[in-house]
Amino acid sequence: MKDLFWHLVGISIGLKILLIPAYHSTDFEVHRNWLAITHSLPLNQWYVDATSEWTLDYPPFFAYFEWLLSHVAKYVDPRMLEVSNLNYDSKGTVYFQRLSVIATDLVYVVGVRSCLGSLGLARDTQQHFAASMILLLNVGLLFVDHIHFQYNGFLFGILLLSISFLVRRRFLWCAFIFAVLLNFKHIFLYLAPAFGVYLLRFYCLEQVGIKSQIEAFLKLLTVGLSPFAASFGPFFEQIPQVLSRLFPFKRGLTHAYWAPNFWALYNSADKVLASALRVKADGAGATSGLVQEVKHLVLPSISPPVTFALTVLFMLPILVKLFRSSKSQSPLVFLRAVVLCGCSSFVFGWHVHEKAILMVLLPLCLLTVVNREDARYAYILAIAGYFSLFPLLFDPDLFIPRYSLYMSYVAMLYGQLYRVFPGFRGFHVLEWLYVLGFLAIPLYEHLLAHLLGWHRRLPFLPLLLTSVYSAIGVIYFFGGYYLYALGIGSHAKWHSSSSAETVEKTRKKKRKTK
């Protein structure tokens, strides 16, 4: 098999270009506004300006990134750079912003290439092709970046680069790149524990002698903190103001649309109990979408520290496992730890967005092609996770594109897994039933709701169904995959060790041939 990586890159660019005129969300205006703020205002106003409701709430590197983009944007349509020109979306603005996402996706391409190389996948293998395909043509990124509008591809590219340096044992580079990533978008803090533990254990503590251990630790600290200095330095006098923008805890437990996590189930359990016990709400309920604050009627209300504690608690076991894993297995356990840290914070985090599922899905793509059992779990999460993004694409013109892209991707993923792991059988019966259950949601949303006339009385029911039903899959994955990653599952141990060794072996082989 030829190396078809760049072919796939080309195909994905083609597909992204076709999506340019698709509906874009308010995030489009968010980023336009940031272009305007960074271009037209002095630095000390960036995190203060509140002309638009979409204030700058990403860390400074991302602001610098927008500032760089704005210097191209001024040649396309200078009007998009006026701070007061709210909701401006001329043709030039749309093409510029869309193309900037497509262009910066090249970072993602480099990240994918580098990561697959570091995992020791030879370029002419089915494995490499499969991994390239599911990462480069990732339907989640198409949905969130190229329809909804965000720059996740670029950011995940940096994440993948950082992972690849870790697997190649270039630890300082890894720490540096990951710190840079945190200064682009701080949500990646959720994955930081896995990086931290790994670097501490396999870089610092690996050194012989306490002195060189401390030395290594200081080196790591310096390298890891320098991006923060570069990023926050210019805002030295405004740090509290910047931080208050980055961490707005005034938002509620769940987003307007509930991300498919534990709190979605918690909220709906509360609703069900409330109606069963006939507890009446005073004012708007949680599903109304207008109020961000959720008031639970029966179950205890949840405060940010509770979600934080739960998140950390659920990260601990895999971090311990990572700390105690052997050197040869460590890259594989590390990847699983990244996935599970992302998943813990997705399942229990405060005010989680549905898009954050990408932080679980994309690193999982790497594991998908390495190990049959990982692939099985990844497939279950793919079905539920990508499905749960549909509410982002609520424009009626996008109904057919979203379902067909999703179906095409999921079927393609199955085909690729079947080629990589001959005889791959996805699910057992109950899992199949769960997967088939997803058919009921669009069936209700587009047909039954209209026949029954419920689409007016209960406009949010399809969203609720999507969220709750996907949440079941996400939590099932979280539990099952967690046990498997800890080696508690039935046949997990043999698989994990064997594949870890193959990764390590192929990696070494490659190095030798070089």
Partner: protein, 479 residues
């Protein structure tokens, strides 16, 4: 792999629905608009007027404004779609008042009717032919052929972008081709008659069907079997025609009136720049100055028949599956190159068999399919579809290359170079047309260069196809 075939089919659907988000022909261009408005106007006419009035000029049916000029099946389809549209919003099809309507809701409705036809007819039809080819010839090319058919930009740029329903006529024709491949001649005759009654352009495919079926009849052992087979096919075809044309068969005047609408000699040999022989000749020798329309029409018919004859005689005498597909390709090219009133879009009729011939000549047919999109670029530029056209064509090329390790061998050495040169020329022309403004004396310079270049390719493909048909040993296999 079933799941990959599913993935390819859904990819086709995805691309079609995504192209639907783009602009269409005649958007924001009153007073005539474009094909989108034509299709909508036919819905308006068919649901508001009696069947007998559909093709006749009246105060309620101004034939100068997109009068119905497709055969009855299109009219019935317009009627059905129009009824659905009326149920959604009567404004869509209100007589006279609805002209030039351009709302987001209406676009969504119109676009989904095309995608609906894709799902119902075109996609299953292509899948059916791919599976038939694999079954009869013991191949394993379904995934390759289906993926390329699903991502062939010409089809979806015209149907889902520009706005037409070629997917219906081509889909019906494709099922008929599948019928021929599987030996179901009666079903094939019926379906092809439907296709022909949806769009008269299906005449481009009719000669090979005729030659193949006639050859099958004559090949019967005795005169009784011959007569019964021939009469059955004739009955199927004529009955289908009679049923579809029944509203206009009451008087010969009405029937002739419809026929005149379908074959408008008065509209001239070609309208826009088109990549055929007449348009190329016209560059140096102005046809309109020297020849009357009627004369020109006769010359066209004569040349077309002469050009189509060899390949169809070959099919008549040697009815191999491959020969039949090749004859469809050659004949539709002959019609495209030589017949009267050719539109750029009709190259899609040659592209349909080309999609199946990819199985035998992947590299040649890839080039042909790319040239076919190239030849439609002036039209697509007018519709604001240039960027998606270029993006999807490059992606199509790359999709093909993803499959080539399984399909190529070394014998394509020379061809590869020719294909490279052709690709380069096309890229250069596109690049130049985007950057260099034509001199004011020749505002149509780039469309002309594009059509002449495409025409040269099509002529070569026509000669190549006939050469293959008459000499290739592959013809003798797989009878």
């Amino acid at each position: 792999m079933k799941s990959e075939i599913l993935a390819a089919a859904f990819l086709g659907l995805a691309v079609r629905s995504i192209i639907s988000l783009h602009s269409y022909s005649g958007h924001n261009s009153p007073p005539m608009y474009g094909d989108y408005e034509a299709q909508r106007h036919w819905q308006e006419v068919t649901i508001n007027l009696d069947v007998g009035e559909w093709y006749t000029n009246s105060s309620n049916n101004d034939l100068m404004y997109w009068g119905l000029d497709y055969p009855p099946l299109t009219a019935f389809h317009s009627y059905l779609v129009g009824q659905v549209g009326k149920a959604i919003d009567p404004e869509f099809v209100a007589l006279h008042k609805s002209r030039g309507i351009q709302s987001a809701e209406h676009k969504r409705f119109m676009r989904s009717t095309v995608v609906f036809a894709d799902v119902l007819i075109y996609l299953p039809a292509i899948l059916f032919v791919c599976l038939s080819l694999d079954k009869i010839l013991q191949g394993q090319d379904t995934l390759f052929l289906l993926t390329l058919a699903m991502t062939y930009p010409g089809q979806f740029l015209i149907d889902n972008g520009h706005f037409q329903y070629n997917n219906i006529s081509l889909g019906l024709a494709a099922v008929a081709v599948g019928g021929i491949l599987r030996g179901k001649y009666y079903t094939a005759s019926f379906l092809f008659t439907l296709a022909l009654n949806y769009k008269q352009m299906e005449l481009y495919h009719s000669l090979p069907f005729f030659a193949f079926l006639l050859g099958e009849c004559i090949a019967q052992k005795n005169i009784g079997a011959f007569a019964s087979k021939l009469s059955r096919i004739a009955t199927i075809v004529l009955t289908t025609f009679a049923v579809l044309w029944s509203p206009w068969l009451g008087s010969s005047k009405a029937a002739l009136g419809v026929l005149q609408r379908l074959f408008p000699v008065a509209r001239g040999v070609f309208e826009d720049k088109v990549a055929n022989v007449w348009c190329a000749i016209n560059v140096v020798w102005k046809l309109r100055k020297h020849l009357m329309n009627e004369q020109m029409a006769l010359i066209c018919i004569g040349c077309t028949l002469i050009a189509a004859l060899p390949t169809n005689i070959a099919v008549f005498r040697n009815r191999s599956k491959l020969g039949f597909l090749l004859a469809l390709f050659n004949t539709s090219l002959a019609f495209f190159l030589f017949s009267f009133q050719v539109h750029e879009k009709t190259i899609l009729l040659a592209a349909l068999p080309a999609l199946f011939l990819l199985k035998w000549w992947p590299n040649e047919m890839l080039l042909f399919l790319e040239v076919s999109v190239f030849s439609m670029l002036p039209l697509l530029t007018k519709d604001n579809l240039l960027l998606p056209a270029l993006a999807s064509t490059v992606a199509f090329h790359l999709v093909f290359k993803c499959f080539t390790p399984q399909t190529t061998s070394d014998q394509y050495g020379i061809l590869k170079n020719i294909a490279k040169i052709s690709n380069l020329v096309m890229v250069l022309i596109v690049g130049a047309s985007l950057t260099i403004y034509p001199p004011p004396r020749f505002p149509d310079l780039w469309p002309l260069i594009i059509s002449v270049t495409s025409c040269a390719h099509f002529v070569l493909f026509f000669l190549w196809g006939n050469y293959q048909q008459l000499t290739c040993k592959k013809m003798l296999q797989n009878k």
